[in-house]
């Protein structure tokens, strides 16, 4: 079975498909559904990749609004509840002369999610609408999004740790707000959005041109 792949051509053009499990590629004709090596399901492209990406992206876009407008934490200090949004938290950090931490929080909590959504949206749009953007740049951007995406979880870690640690009843307690849930949803949906996007579509869109 000739399964030599040719450089410069997509797998589809060559009738090849890659098993995402075992990494073996095979002729699509030979085994249209199943990987001949590991017998897992196999396909030439991820199914509904773009659709999934869009759906998750839209979800995250919806949730990023309350994540930023609603309080992410409630600080119960001396029987009084002090809600903090992400942005008010950053402001109070700046007020407390902790610019470095404010910057980290700003990047991790505001800049990165928005950048992720924006970057994924541009890539997805570019694939959808055949914008003929540079595939390499798109790939680089995707790689960056994929890499940095998991760091957004850090915020949630901090919140969950604070909630666990600052539990002194009426004196001092921290409760997660609605924005925390929203933010989690944003992080997870963007992660999944990135994960469900098949980067090869960038090339597919390119070749169609």
């Amino acid at each position: 079975m000739d399964k030599r792949a040719t450089a410069g051509k997509t797998g589809i053009e060559q009738g090849l498909q890659l098993c995402s499990i075992c990494g073996n590629y095979s002729k699509q004709i030979d085994n249209p559904e199943i990987c001949p090596v590991c017998f897992n399901d196999i396909s030439q492209r991820k199914k509904n990749s773009l659709q999934k990406t869009w759906a998750l992206l839209i979800t995250s876009v919806v949730f990023i609004i309350p994540a930023n407008l609603y309080p992410i934490t409630y600080l119960l200090k001396n029987n009084t509840l002090y809600p903090d949004t992400i942005f008010s938290g950053i402001l109070s950090l700046i007020n407390s002369d902790m610019l470095g931490i404010a910057l980290i929080v700003f990047v991790a909590s505001i800049a990165v999610p928005i950048f992720k959504i924006a970057a994924l949206a541009v890539i997805a749009l570019s694939v959808q609408l055949h914008w003929n953007l540079s595939p390499k740049k798109q790939l680089w951007a995707f790689g960056f999004v994929d890499w940095i995406g998991k760091w957004s979880i850090l915020d949630l870690f901090v919140i969950s740790i604070m909630v666990a640690v600052f539990d002194k009843g009426h004196l001092l307690s921290v409760y997660p707000g609605i924005a925390a849930t929203s933010f989690t949803v944003v992080v997870i949906t963007t992660l999944f959005a990135a994960n469900s996007f098949d980067t090869r579509l960038i090339w597919d869109a390119q070749t169609h041109e």
Binding site: L56, I58, T59, V62, F63, I65, T80
Partner: protein, 888 residues
């Protein structure tokens, strides 16, 4: 192969499938839309609240709360153009319905009081703005109020209390019913007039039915302690009420439930809350009578003065008083009310507590309270009126020193009445003392009754000490009036109705009262004569039994050259001066210093300083006047009243006698030598003044006088004291007829009666070493002594008279043997020299020993003046006799 495969290759048709992942954004969109909808429909409302100042209000921190729920947050503070600050706050959408025109906002800051700490949370969380919703149109601009408005729990009953003073009632003070907290004071305010305190309180809805229209509210604040002799009764309702006060109320069963806003009176304590009969007391001077003063009946509180007001019309104070219902029966006509004041005098401290608490009103019911008409208006007396029908008497006195209204009138120590008042008499000469005698003692008063001042102390100070005589301490310090009846009054005596205008005199002392009315008559002027002026001066007192009855008013020289002292005797004492009166000088003090010691005599301290003259009744035979009829002024009482008997003693030699030497009888000084002269016969003549009371006994024939002087001999020293005090004359009274001239002896007579015992005569050849006073021994114990020795009538021997002391006289039996014990027995032999002596005394003084043989039965006791032979030789065997001689 490829072709073949191509031909047979299945046509791949791309199906436009929709991934189920789309469900996610749909849900998200729905959620987002819903949140958006919520945000739009429940938008926060901005309100503007005007505060005077924005202390402790912090933007974004200060919350707005309603019933503890956060309903908003301060978002902005801006200065108001006029005054104060405007606080812009966002009220959360769910609370916007409360934003009405009447809605109130006020700032809550931490407040700590004893009962409660409110807003403590604000200590940490900061102050907050409280919201109390009200009615009216919707509004967004408000004026904050300064103080928290009354907020009562839902359905709680709001009651209004009126009180004279806030006492310990303050906001938050609990209201108890049966010691269960049922409510709270929410507001304490002065009313508009400023005379009362309006208190608003709520009673929780669960208990609001307990408040009846007839309920009484009273204060149970603090601690009530009733300290009496019975013990200490401490009444404490609760610790809370101790600290913060408290209010409780009664809930009469019969009464109807109270409506809201019923006005109640808040009583100071439970006593005051008790309803009772209200009476009116009119009084001129309120003095220390406080509002709320108790009305006591025999010490038991029966009511209280509730209000005191001045009536312009009646020009006096009108005190409203409430009497406890159970005592209202006694409030009848004739009942008495009087003010019990603090009496702080030396004799008693009465109602001392009134100083702090104010006076109280005492009450006494009418005697016929059962039948008397009810009354509600009384005059408040300043002191208790005597229980009718007390006898009122008026006493006149010139000096009311020490008398106070209320002081007792007593008769023989029993209080029979009291002084009602003291005032000047019309003519201004006297002081009218109005006294009232209790009805039960009125029989004691008759026309002859006399009253005297009980005040004062009778003090006698002399060098011997200070003697103080006084009436009971009460009288001593505060005085009083005593009643004197010359004749005892029988209890059955009829109360003779006395003339209302009868005035009694108040005598300065009981003695004067006894004397009678002459007290107030004119003084008696008389003069006494003396050879020398007495050491008195004008004003020196004249004493009668130490009672000053007059004074010296002047001196002059009589025609006869005698010094004349004029005396003025007070009228009331003039009867004391009689024909037989004797006057003597008691001025200064009499110092009699001699070898016998120093003797000081003084009548009184006053007489030492001022001198004085004493007067007393003398006996008829005393020559108390000079020829011209004037009284003699004696130099001493002794000279005046008891002139000593002068006796003359003749001595061969004066020895050591001198003027002043004493005459003693059995050691008692009964006289003194006043003069020593030589008689014409060449004898020493001593005139001795014998005290009157001893003269009869000693100035008799047969009395023997002898000089006692110190006698020092080998045998001993006698009367050594005379070495210092000088010799004296001893007297042995005789029994003959009275006489004044005696022959004195230089030595004591042989037989002193004091040692009379059994006289015996011993016969011997010569006197040997036996001497007068030599002892007689039995078993070396002296049982007698030699009295004298003399030659027998025919000079054939010597008779020695011995006297056996009475206690030993029974030892002398008819067969007793006497031998000389004197001297010593010297036996010189080969073996040596033996010296025998009975005793050292006998060795020196000589003596006689006796014994009785034991080989014969006990013989009869010897007779007086029996004769015994004094053995010449001594037999040693005599010493071995051991005859038992019982005492008779």
């Amino acid at each position: 192969m490829n072709e073949h495969f191509s031909e047979n290759q299945a046509q791949i048709v791309k199906t436009r499938s929709i991934s189920p992942i789309w469900f996610l954004p749909v849900v998200a969109a729905v959620l987002g839309l819903w949140i958006l909808f919520q945000n739009i429909t429940h938008a926060n409302v901005q309100v503007k609240i005007h505060f005077q100042k924005a202390d402790s209000i912090i933007v974004d921190k200060t919350k707005i709360r309603y019933k503890g729920v956060i309903v908003g947050t301060v978002k902005k503070i801006e200065l108001d153009s006029a005054s104060g600050v405007n606080v812009i706050a966002e009220i959360e959408s769910h609370a916007t319905f409360m934003l009405r025109e009447q809605t109130q906002f006020w700032l809550v800051s931490p407040k700590a009081s004893l009962t409660s700490i409110s807003g403590l949370d604000t200590l940490f969380s900061g102050s907050y703005i409280n919201l109390e919703p009200g009615d009216g149109e919707e509004a967004t601009v408000f004026d904050a109020i300064d103080e928290e408005p009354i907020s009562i729990p839902d359905n709680a009953l709001l009651v209004s209390l009126k009180s004279d003073s806030a006492g310990s009632v303050s906001v938050g003070t609990p209201i108890f019913f049966k010691k269960i907290k049922v409510g709270e004071i929410v507001q304490v305010r002065l009313d508009d007039s400023g005379r009362h305190v309006n208190i608003k309180a709520f009673v929780e809805s669960d208990y609001s039915h307990l408040v009846k229209s007839a309920s009484k509210f009273w204060n149970i604040s603090g601690l009530r302690a009733n300290i009496s002799r019975a013990g200490i009764d401490v009444n404490l309702d609760s610790i809370t009420s101790l600290i913060a006060g408290g209010i409780t109320f009664s809930s009469p069963q019969k009464s109807t439930a109270a409506s809201a806003e019923t006005q109640f009176e808040l009583y100071e304590n439970i006593d005051k809350s008790e309803a009772g009969q209200t009476i009116e007391l009119t009084v001129n001077n309120i003095n220390n009578l406080p509002k709320g003063a108790g009305i006591l009946f025999k010490g038991h509180g029966i009511g209280r003065i509730t209000d005191i007001e001045y009536s312009l019309e009646q020009k006096q104070f009108i005190a409203q008083a409430t009497i406890n219902p159970q005592f209202s029966e006694m409030i009848t006509q004739g009942a008495q009310f009087w003010v019990e004041k603090t009496a702080l005098s030396f004799s008693k401290i009465k109602n001392l507590g009134n100083i702090i608490t104010g006076d109280y009103v005492a009450f006494a019911p009418a005697a016929d309270a059962e039948v008397a008409q009810k009354a509600s208006s009384f005059a408040l007396q300043q002191s208790r009126l005597p229980v009718s029908p007390a006898l009122d008497l008026m006493l006149l006195t010139e000096d009311a020193t020490g008398l106070n209204a209320g002081d007792p009138v007593s008769y023989q120590g029993i209080k029979i009445g009291s002084i009602r008042s003291l005032d000047f008499a019309e003519n201004g000469r006297f002081i009218e003392t109005s006294i009232s005698i209790d009805s039960s003692y009125q029989y004691l008063i008759n026309k002859n009754s006399q009253f005297y001042l009980l005040s004062g102390v009778n003090m006698k100070a002399s060098l011997q000490g200070i003697e103080m005589q006084s009436t009971p301490l009460e009288h001593l310090l505060s005085g009083g009036i005593g009643l004197y009846n010359a004749e005892p009054v029988k209890k059955s005596a009829k109360n003779t109705l006395l003339d209302k205008n009868l005035r009694f005199r108040l005598y300065p002392s009981r003695a004067l009262a006894e004397v009678g009315k002459n007290v107030f008559s004119k003084p008696l002027i008389l003069s006494v004569l003396s050879k020398q002026l007495p050491a008195v001066s004008e004003g020196s007192p004249v004493y009668y039994h130490k009672l000053p009855i007059g004074e010296v008013i002047g001196f002059s020289i009589d025609n006869s050259g005698l010094m004349k002292t004029e005396l003025s005797i007070k009228g009331q004492y003039r009867h004391l001066i009689k024909e037989q009166s004797i006057f003597w000088n008691i001025s200064g003090f009499n110092v009699d210093a001699g070898l016998g010691g120093i003797e000081i005599q003084a009548e009184s301290l006053l007489t030492i300083v001022k001198g004085g003259i004493a007067v007393d009744h003398g006996k008829k035979d005393i020559d108390n006047k000079y020829a011209n009829g004037s009284y003699k002024l004696f130099s001493s009482y002794e000279k005046a009243a008891k002139p000593p008997t002068v006796i003359t003693l003749l001595f061969d030699q004066a020895n050591e006698l001198q003027v002043g030497s004493k005459l003693r009888l059995k050691g008692l000084v009964i006289g003194r030598i006043t003069e020593l002269t030589l008689s014409s016969k060449g004898k020493v003549q001593a005139k001795v003044n014998v005290k009157a009371e001893f003269a009869a006994q000693t100035a008799r024939k047969g009395s023997r006088f002898w000089v006692v002087s110190s006698d020092i001999s080998l045998a001993g020293a006698k009367n050594l004291s005379t070495l210092v005090s000088g010799v004296f004359i001893n007297v042995e009274p005789g029994k003959g007829a009275p006489a004044t001239e005696f022959t004195g002896e230089v030595k004591a007579p042989i037989i002193e009666r004091s040692k009379t015992g059994l006289p015996l005569i011993l016969l011997t050849d010569n006197a040997g070493s036996t001497d007068i006073n030599s002892p007689v021994y039995h078993r070396q114990i002296q049982i007698g002594e030699v009295m004298s020795k003399q030659l027998s009538s025919d000079a054939s021997g010597v008779e020695i008279a011995v006297n056996i002391y009475p206690e030993y006289s029974h030892l002398i039996r008819e067969n007793s043997i006497f031998w000389p014990a004197s001297g010593f027995n010297l036996n010189v032999g080969i073996t040596g020299v033996a010296l025998k002596s009975t005793s050292l005394t006998s060795l020196i003084k000589g003596g006689i020993s006796m014994s009785t043989p034991d080989n014969k039965p006990l013989q009869e006791m010897s007779d007086a003046f029996a004769r015994f032979e004094l053995k010449k030789e001594f037999n040693e065997s005599w010493l071995n006799w051991k005859l038992a001689i019982p005492k008779p």
